[in-house]
């Protein structure tokens, strides 16, 4: 057991024993390699199940408005930013949650591993320093961790939470890579092809929406039936409208935690749309999602001198 896991368990146990919280949200080992699953720890026993490694890619903030009144949550940098946004949107009371910040080394993109293997199944995966060793049947593959990290993690500027109640000592926090937002093709038709190809994969299971802590509408526009804005059929146009609307509804709110990409069972990845929204919001409105609790969300207000470069003039 490594030092970080020991800290996590100790902290969880203490919070539960001191009755500061009823529940600690963390991760425990999942049924499959590289798949830690949410752990709902309510006792010292539960706390001892908690674990941590580079396969804790889900965003636990999705459970914050649920199963208990006072909750402690283990939060990576991106998770803590999601919590900031949820607090701004008054989803729960600040005093009811204890944020346990976990410095993040970056999470594995399972899809990248699968693509390297050419299989969705692997029997075993373990970390050996900066290498990931994956076994599938008789094949063993050694991959440098850096190559199979999520793009979001490779580009993450805030891997260590900036908003927390307790910050665990993670001297291992990685140094963020230089910002390298994946460039989109300059050619419009190529961009459309890319989007069309991603949207075509979508089966409309809504895993992306449902794992997203910020996608909490009581009734999603994709489910509304009167009027029916987005058809429920996984047809090209309906998928495209769904994905575009999701990106738009998360503009200025998405924290690039990557949970939706991780969740997708068929590998739809439209992170670049979300990144474009992030960039626009930053450049146009000077706003960073989840940076500070006292910054007003850009779409909750307006500016008198916002750029008008997109306006058709005559």
């Amino acid at each position: 057991m490594n030092e970080l896991i020991r800290q996590i368990r100790d902290t969880a146990r203490r919070l539960l024993e001191e009755r500061q919280v009823e529940l600690v949200l963390g991760f425990e080992a999942g049924p499959l390699p590289l798949r830690n699953t949410p752990c709902f720890a309510r006792s010292a026993d539960g706390a001892d199940r908690l674990t941590w490694d580079r396969a804790c890619g889900l965003n636990l903030a999705v459970f914050l408005d649920g199963p208990a009144r006072r909750i402690a949550i283990l939060a990576k940098g991106c998770d803590s930013r999601a919590i900031v946004n949820l607090l701004k949107e008054r989803r729960f009371a600040r005093e009811n949650i204890v944020i346990v910040g976990v410095p993040c080394e970056g999470m594995i993109d399972r899809r990248k591993v699968e693509r390297r293997l050419g299989e969705t199944d692997f029997d075993d995966a373990r970390f050996e320093g900066e290498r990931l060793v994956v076994r599938s049947g008789a094949r063993t593959l050694e991959l440098p961790v850096a190559e199979v990290l999520r793009d979001a993690c490779r580009e993450c500027a805030m891997p260590t939470p900036v908003f927390y109640d307790i910050l665990l000592d993670g001297a291992t926090a990685r140094i963020p890579a230089a910002g390298s937002e994946a460039a989109s093709p300059a050619d419009r038709a190529e961009r459309w092809q890319r989007f069309e190809a991603e949207a075509a994969k979508c089966i409309r299971c809504y895993a992306c929406r449902n794992v997203c802590p910020l996608c909490y509408c009581r009734e999603c526009c994709a489910d509304q039936s009167g009027p029916r804005w987005v058809g429920p059929a996984p047809t090209p146009a309906d998928n495209q409208v769904f994905l575009l609307m999701r990106a738009l509804h998360l503009a200025g709110r998405c924290v690039d935690c990557g949970a939706c990409i991780e969740a997708c069972p068929v590998g739809v990845d439209v992170r670049y749309l979300f990144k474009r929204m992030e960039r626009e919001v930053r450049e146009r409105f000077g706003y960073e999602s989840g940076r500070a609790l006292d910054e007003k969300p850009p779409l909750a207000g307006y500016g008198t001198d916002d750029p008008e470069d997109f306006i058709t003039d005559v």
């Binding site: 419009r188 526009c221 575009l244 307006y302 916002d306 005559v314």
Partner: protein, 155 residues
């Protein structure tokens, strides 16, 4: 699993018979009145625009716009009061943020963004409205029938 919903006769070719169908959301207080003035002043502009009157440009949810394209509009125009002139003080300023993001998003996705226009037309600007419709219609016409996002052009 995909259904062919496109009409092969009206797609892929910019025949002279084809006329773009443009949906315009006009705010009740300025742009709709501007359109009215254009009509009263007998200004000529292309008949390709179908107008939906809305109380304010801020009433226009991006979902309306995507839905219009999904249902086969070739172009969409949203027009409201000039910044500072909003009947509801700042509706158009709030809308401006949303539209900026929508347009950037569609650009990123590779949608032909010249199909989507935002503008400001006041109640006194009948001439400007006619000019705007000329400009928008020509831009959309140049692009031909909309393909991306369109589902229900012909079922």
């Amino acid at each position: 699993m995909t259904h062919s919903v496109q009409d092969p006769t009206s797609k892929n070719q910019k025949s002279s018979a084809w006329q773009p169908r443009i949906l315009a959301f006009l705010c009740n207080w300025c742009s709709y009145a501007g359109a009215d003035l254009a009509g009263v002043s007998r200004l000529q502009y292309p008949p390709n625009v179908r107008v939906i009157r809305v109380p304010c440009s801020a009433r226009v949810d991006p979902l309306f716009i995507l839905s219009a394209f999904r249902r086969g509009a070739d172009g969409v125009l949203v027009s409201g009061c000039h910044p500072g002139d909003c009947h509801y003080l700042a509706g158009n300023l709030a809308a401006r943020r949303r539209f900026a993001l929508l347009k950037a998003l569609l650009d990123e996705a590779g949608f032909e963004i010249d199909r989507l226009h935002f503008s400001w037309v006041s109640a006194a600007e009948g001439g400007r409205f006619a000019e705007l419709i000329h400009k928008v219609t020509e831009k959309v016409r140049a692009l031909g029938p909309a393909q991306p996002l369109a589902k229900e052009r012909r079922l």
